[in-house]
């Protein structure tokens, strides 16, 4: 396999594209807005990160962080998806993180705060130690779903091996 290398700080000319953060157009019936911040091990914003969302059935999204480490997406709320073992996975977004200083990209998931029952039965969340599960569940802030990515340290986001 060809090894990975960091996306570096200067991917802005090559990777972000117009409306990349709109997996569905704003105003579409049922559209949801996701906002978050990427933070480093000292809690400082990461202004040179790129987030991708791979949503089965809905589409692909890509957005870079701004000077405050902030990113946002508009998408459709996903449904549950079958797990390889036949169980049902709770609705979630597949989130990948690229940044200067990340020699390989990171993979995480964003789950939904209003799906407590489905989340409790989710086969992936159940592989995560209980105290860390909350790092994978967005918070509802006035109708906007807030999902921060903490790369390192206290309340570090759970990342998955791929």
């Amino acid at each position: 396999m060809t090894p990975s290398q960091t996306v570096g700080p200067f991917f802005g000319v090559g990777l972000p594209f117009e409306k990349g953060e709109q997996i569905v157009a704003p105003g579409t019936a049922g559209a949801i807005r996701v906002e978050g911040q990427v933070l480093d091990g000292k809690g400082e914003p990461v202004p040179d990160a790129l987030i991708e969302i791979w949503q089965i059935g809905s589409g692909f999204g890509r957005a870079r962080t701004d000077a405050e480490g902030a990113f946002s997406f508009t998408t459709a709320k996903p449904g549950g998806t079958p797990a390889p073992d036949g169980r049902t996975q709770a609705p979630h977004l597949n989130v990948t993180v690229f940044a200067r200083g990340l020699l390989r990209h990171l993979v995480t998931r964003m789950y939904f705060p209003d799906k407590a029952e489905a989340n409790a039965a989710d086969p992936v969340l159940n592989l995560v130690e209980p105290a860390r599960r909350e790092t994978l569940i967005a918070k509802n802030c006035g109708g906007v779903l807030h999902f921060d990515v903490r790369l390192q340290g206290e309340r570090e986001t759970v990342f998955f091996a791929i």
Binding site: M1, T2, P3, S4, Q5, T6, V7, G8, P9, F10, F11, G12, V13, G14, L15, F17, K19, G20, D40, G41, K42, E44, V46, D48, E52, W54, Q55, I56, G57, S58, G59, F60, A83, P84, D85, N94, T96, F98, R100, G101, L102, L103, R104, H105, L106, V107, P123, V124, L127, V128, R132, L151, Q152, E156, T157, V158, F159, F160, A161, I162
Partner: protein
């Protein structure tokens, strides 16, 4: 050595940028299959001339014109067609078109430094560009990045996603570059170095470099297509 051990670690202290960004906790392993899902439709337009970084402006960019070609393959050597290949790079003077790039080298009004293409039925990609310059960075005293082109690959499935960098043969800056040296073994590092390609070199016009890319993924299962 497993394929995963050939990948760079998240924390590689010589590359200072990893120190506060590498996860400190172990990654959570999922059983087989959880990350085996197909890529959604890529919404970005890829136009006919997007592979030619020398024809995006009124004039031609300054620098050594080069052709970069190769194939995108799975680990069994099968071509991966319709893979989306996106590239970006510094100009011939070692400067990116990026407001955060403060290297005091000139910008080139005829060079933006980004391109895209899709692989063909044999998994081939082809770019026309200029050879990027080396440039300094502040990682350690007198640190210079070897000349490189950034590559982003989006294949047919989630697990094959790859962002990496292509280097040029014989570059004396490679041994001191912590980003390249973060790859643990020599064979792995050599997989990122292109080869001078006299067959593709066009007389009186451009040198060519050849670089194949191997992606991971479920398609690598042995015997999948055996009768």
């Amino acid at each position: 050595m497993s394929e995963d051990e050939r990948e760079p670690p998240y924390l590689y202290a010589d590359y200072v940028g990893t120190r506060l960004r590498a996860p400190a906790k172990p990654l959570v392993h999922l059983p087989d299959g959880f990350h085996d899902f197909p890529a959604p439709v890529f919404p970005r337009t890829i136009a006919e001339l997007d592979h030619d970084l020398t024809r995006q402006h009124a004039g031609e960019p300054i620098g050594e014109r080069i052709i970069v070609t190769g194939r995108v393959l799975d680990s069994d050597g099968r071509p991966l067609r319709k893979t989306i290949v996106e590239v970006w790079q510094a100009n011939a003077a070692g400067r990116y078109l990026d407001q955060d790039d403060q290297h005091p080298a000139p910008l080139d009004p005829n060079f933006s430094g980004a391109g895209r293409c899709l692989t063909d039925d044999e998994g081939r990609y082809r770019f026309i560009t200029i050879k990027p310059g080396a440039y300094p960075w502040k990682n350690h005293r007198n640190a210079w990045r070897p000349a490189h082109i950034h590559f982003s690959l989006l294949g047919s499935e989630f697990r094959s996603r790859l962002v990496t960098q292509m280097y040029f043969p014989g570059d004396p800056l490679m041994p001191q570059d912590p980003i390249l040296q973060s790859i643990p073994d020599q064979a792995g590092r050599e997989r990122l170095v292109s080869r001078f390609d006299p067959e593709t070199t066009v007389p009186e016009w451009a040198l060519a470099y050849q670089w194949d890319i191997v992606l991971r993924g479920r398609a690598a299962t042995p015997f999948e297509n055996e009768p």
